[in-house]
Subunit: 403 residues, 2 copies
């Protein structure tokens, strides 16, 4: 079984995408991840998309396989219970992930006084701890002005919260790296991770910052792949395909599939380009478009697919989300990453586990999300060391919720 | 110093974004990451953006802090040297990251026969090992049909290779999780990670799959944030801002900043909505737009900023990449994540280290990328156990390149 993080315990105080995804990544490899929420749920408890019942599909998707503890966090007693869970003993415990301000019951120094080797990873909007979300960070990166057909005049926001998703994975990286260090040195630490820094770093890594510093101004390229050849085309039956000639091999395959080889020399001569060079393919993209478009327009999708596959070309089909869910061959239980899992309040949903495939080990089947407070009693008794009698009193006083 | 992975050794046989980013993530935390390339460089050696000199800003951005070994991989002797580097001894070594087909010198079983506890992480296009890149995976996820103002009719490709970036971080997660397991059990493993599976899993995690399965069809929402309130507005001086009212607190702050509180009751009554509910804010987004647009249009950016900040609203400014590099307060060396670093062939460039801030430890300064083959001799002598005499012969025969 690929529960390779079995035994590791992480406590999560979180909402939305990045922190819950970071925790779920560890949970989907077998770690025990305890999400602590207020009695009425987290800030993301009702985040859209929602089912007809109001159940959040967003929450249920990002908290799979976790244990849920619901406490009256506003009360000193609730906060004390939370701190006990966070600081409970065990070599494999003492990990905290949050995207809330590291104050009060989430204050690292306070928690450290209780468990000296605590590893806390705090996700924040910007490096000063200011408020920022994916939707406010992304505009400042310049990408909306490079996206879409009329990009320069009307910026286009991304629909995928990409910065959140990258940050969530990086949070898991930081926790595992910190835990590795703790095993060697015995030392815990506070690790901060700013969403805005993640975005700025990526803009550096991909060369956008250097490009601007060197005085080159990138023009919007619509649906063209930047720097080589790639674009979308419409087939005779209205299907839309994306074709890519990034590497030399991909370009050769695309030329072969589309049968444009004999027309390339004239194009190269006219434009003074060498289309075996990826940069020249980008410079000559519009001329290449004109060669490929009639080929695509003359074929149905299945005819185009046969030609592209026969040549070994790299291409993809545009689908709606509905079409993906209905027809994508790998969006189905035949893909061992997926299983049909009953989610509380939703019924059975096609549910992904972790994409990491530990070959030769059985996949850890995707688990459903918890009901809010489902594990409050289990964790307070088993981790925080509360007696049954004490728990009953807390419950009677409305300080804890059992799901 | 935050070189918390110091001592860990990873060998990388890679190109483009995901695998190089995964390796660089470990390198930027202090691991020794050895990238092995062919004598003429990798498939990404000339990837755009490029400097006027032809130097790839993309390559230099994604390979910072690595060691470069250049070998004649086409020859049996070159492959033998590569295998020796991959399988060299040491508790903290024996990690391999690749996005090439795991065949030949990258065949896990073959390498395992040489080093039994090898951990190999292989990134592939789809789960069958088929060819796919970010640009062909993304269209099948349905997101291009939800992006941009006329989304449903003209799909919009993303400019940020988001799936690659998420996959790269997840590769680092898989390697660290595998190394943790090996330390406990002594066992290595082959971990496969398909780019397409990463994308499909995220579509599940964010609720897109469940939404479609439950029969709800999401309409494109242009630049509106889905499921709550958020949109871009143009100020009197042409500056464009993104404002967000996702949480209740953010919404209250936005209402206060824009002074629309007294007009909300009439809007709510007319539309039969309760705008304190995030979903109702999405349903009533166009009516909210009409209230906020004149406010934005009547103020300069600095006036709007004063009002938004005074209310504690969550907002962001749209910038071009040039503007980000020139004026973003955190895209500068005043942000300790950045330093000005001399890159081979490029001169000094504003260069990011890792966004993970290990509080109380000095940041590991961002290192430049290597020159191709810069560490060939060091690694062949120090890791592969070649003698100086043998190395001289390999060099004379053109089987190795020293950068």
């Amino acid at each position: 079984m690929s529960d390779i993080l079995k035994g590791l315990r992480l406590v999560e105080a979180s909402a939305f995408v990045a922190a819950p995804l970071g925790g779920m990544t560890l949970a989907q490899m077998g770690a025990e991840v305890i999400r602590i929420d207020a009695l009425n749920g987290g800030l993301d408890a009702r985040r859209w998309p929602v089912a007809g019942t109001g159940e959040s599909l967003f929450w249920s998707g990002l908290n799979k396989g976790k244990k849920s503890v619901a406490l009256d966090i506003a009360s000193p007693e609730g906060r004390e219970l939370a701190e006990r869970i966070i600081c409970a003993g065990g070599d494999d415990a003492g990990l905290l992930l949050t995207n809330f301000p590291p104050r009060g019951w989430l204050d690292y120094d306070r928690l450290k006084a209780r468990r000296g080797d605590l590893i806390q990873l705090t996700i924040q909007g910007d490096r000063h701890g200011g408020s920022a979300v994916d939707y406010t960070v992304n505009p400042a990166m310049g990408l909306p002005f490079l996206t879409g057909p009329d990009a320069a005049n009307s910026p286009v926001n991304h629909v995928l919260p990409a910065w959140d998703l990258i940050t969530g994975q990086m949070a898991a990286v930081g926790l595992l790296a910190g835990e590795r260090q703790r095993r060697r040195s015995g030392q815990g630490q506070h690790v901060k991770l700013a969403l805005e820094d993640v975005a700025l770093a990526v803009m550096g890594h991909l060369g956008f910052i250097a490009e601007a510093e060197l005085g080159s101004r990138r023009e919007p390229a619509g649906n063209h792949l930047f720097g080589a050849y790639g674009r979308d085309f419409v087939c005779a039956d209205g299907a839309r395909i994306m074709v890519v000639g990034l590497t030399g091999k991909q370009w050769s395959a695309l030329v072969q599939a589309t049968g444009i080889a004999d027309r390339l020399p004239a194009t190269e001569a006219r434009l003074r380009l060498d289309l075996t060079q990826e940069g020249d393919r980008f410079k000559g993209r519009h001329a290449i478009d004109e060669l490929i478009a009639p080929w695509a327009a003359g074929l149905t999708l299945s005819e185009a697919a046969v030609a592209l596959d026969a040549a070994g070309a790299c291409w993809g089909l545009y689908r709606s989300v509905d079409d993906m869910v209905r027809s994508h061959p790998n969006c189905a239980t035949s893909n061992p990453m997926f299983a049909r899992v009953a989610h509380p309040g939703l019924g059975e949903v096609l549910t992904p586990g972790i994409p990491l495939d530990f070959v030769g080990r059985d996949r850890l089947p995707p688990a459903p999300p918890p009901r809010l407070g489902q594990h409050t009693e289990e964790i307070l008794l088993g981790v925080a060391g509360i007696s049954s009698g004490e728990f009953a009193k807390l419950h009677d006083r409305g300080l804890v919720l059992t799901g």
